[in-house]
Amino acid sequence: MRTTLFAAALGAAALLGAIAPASAQRTDPCAGPITFGTTISATGTNSTLSDRWMKMTEIFEEEFNRMAGGVALSGCGGKKVPIKFVMYDDQSVPATAVSLYEKMATVDRVDLFVGPDWSTHGFPVSQIFEKYKTPSVMSNVATPRVYEQGFKYITGLAFHANTWSQNYFESLKNVNPQPKSVFWIVHDNLIAKTVYEIHKPIAEKQGIKTVGEEIFAPTTRDFTGIILKIRAAKPDIIYISSFDAVSVPLVQQMRQLRVTAMDVHHIMATGSLARQINLEGVTGELYWHEGIKGPYSDIALKVLERAEIKLFDYLWTGGRLDSYFVMIQAIEKVGKLDREAIATALRAPGAKWKRPGGEFEFDAGGLSKIVAFTHQIQNGAPVIIAPAAQATGTIKWPSPTWQ
């Protein structure tokens, strides 16, 4: 028995050893290519937001290396090295994402991470970055609590939940007649609830009273109950904090049941929503828009074009692309591939970072302080109405289609 056990153990060890790829740790900080590890929710429930990103990332690798010529390493005599992505589908399951990041850290031995998306993934995966002391620029992980863990190696590109609708509520100060009341409709989801919880006091400070609030489950299909409550409450503003896909029947039924308000605000008033329902006159937030030119916008637009992605349809694509740009900037700031230095640079207080939508800073926890552009759907397309500097039009108030 003892010999069999020993033989089996030996065999097993040999087998595992054979599977494990022998890849040496990189010793030369100037050698390319620099590998970025990431997972994308290409299948599963979150894939409605990100199903085209795998293709987009492949194109990004190609276009960036072609158009920019690679990452400029000042610490290596200004040599430009290409980037390379290692990427997997996390199937929208957090546990799968964790195992994949572990694999990328230990088997694929990627240099840096860019990802994952979504707060539910950000929580467990952020510990992997700490453990392997490998910096990551995550995208679309907007819940402040992820960044309140005191971690050093994480940063995240997303709207700051704290400032998500900042421009919107600012712009409301200048409309006439003034809105006096708001009804909150909230998708039962980490990010949607955070946005609602943060903006409720902001609105009330501005003198906009809450006359109703309702949280709905993602599988809700019939919203008549909620809508009747709205009609009874007669709010001036209806604020929908929800993912776009799950709110299709909500907005549709609001239309059908002739809900009236000065404005209906949807934090994800996207193109995919607009294709399914009449969004005319609805206000919302945009992360970035093809019409707004800024740093890297040439590369970004080229990538989007080739990947056949419209920012208006896939709202969060901007965050994804920005995480790539920010990581590249961080390497260039350091001038060579040095994880510790890159992590420090990313979290340097007051550092400015470029993105196609403008400049921004990270907060103390590592979450980008990005303020969304507020837009209104006019004649089927989004028109930026705030901030004033980038505005492409003015708000129609009260919203014409909700009368």
């Binding site: 429930t45 409605t48 809700t220 299909r221 019939d222 008549t224 109950g225 009747l228 896909a245 399914q276």
Partner: protein, 290 residues
Amino acid sequence: MTAIIAQLVISGLLLGGLYALVAFGLSLIYGVVRILNFAHGTLLAIGGIAASIIFAVYKLNPVLIAVVLVLVFLVFGYLMHIYLLDPLKKRNPFEATIGTVLVTVGLLLIISDLAAEIAGPTPKNIPLEFHAYIVGEVIIQRAELYILGGITLFTIALHLFLKKTWFGRAIRAVTQSPLGANICGIRSKQIHAQTVAVGCGIVAIAGVLWSLKFPVDPYGGFDLTVRAFTIIILGGIGNLVGALLAGLFLGLAEVFTSFLWASDWAPAVSIVLLLVILVVFPRGLASVRK
């Protein structure tokens, strides 16, 4: 208040009618073949997605779309039974049950993944804009009337089909007494395959009507399978009228729960109902009537 109740009732009936439609197919299949088809709700989602794509690309009339999809689904159901499910009948009951679970769960995975790969994972619907009728404070969409009409007509048609045609009666006969049906000269294998086909055909119609009102995505649908099970247990296996009433009741219950209490608890209604019924009447409600 009456206007509010009226509005809620309309929505509840609409939702419940659609639920019933989902349950009809499952009820027929379960009644005749005694197979738990885990892929049932997912088939509806696929039907809805196909319908909305056809609508978006060819701008076909939804009725025409339904006709096309029904034909496709009939064939699919027939082949599914002949090649995947029927051969399992030859195994012992233990293997037959497990085999059925594996086959239908496998199908569920395959069709939802394929649909997501081909059509994309985003939810889709048939965006028809129609005139609305306003009676006092109650608002009814013409599309909703069409859907309600569709459900009513279809239920009546199905009812007549089961009552009046030889084939429909054979389905009921096999459900109620397989041996008795055999004695009357009903070929059970044939009826089984045809019933699975018809059940899938009904799902196609449900899918089209569903996508007129609500969006569907390839990963959804399983919660509809659970609801459909609730409905057939509530309404009696193979009992169409029972399924309709149970579906309507469920729809109304969910709508009223969300208005009177909170919408995040509305999905609990059907689950709690199912559990309570099963626990109080362990052999289903049908056993009580006897």
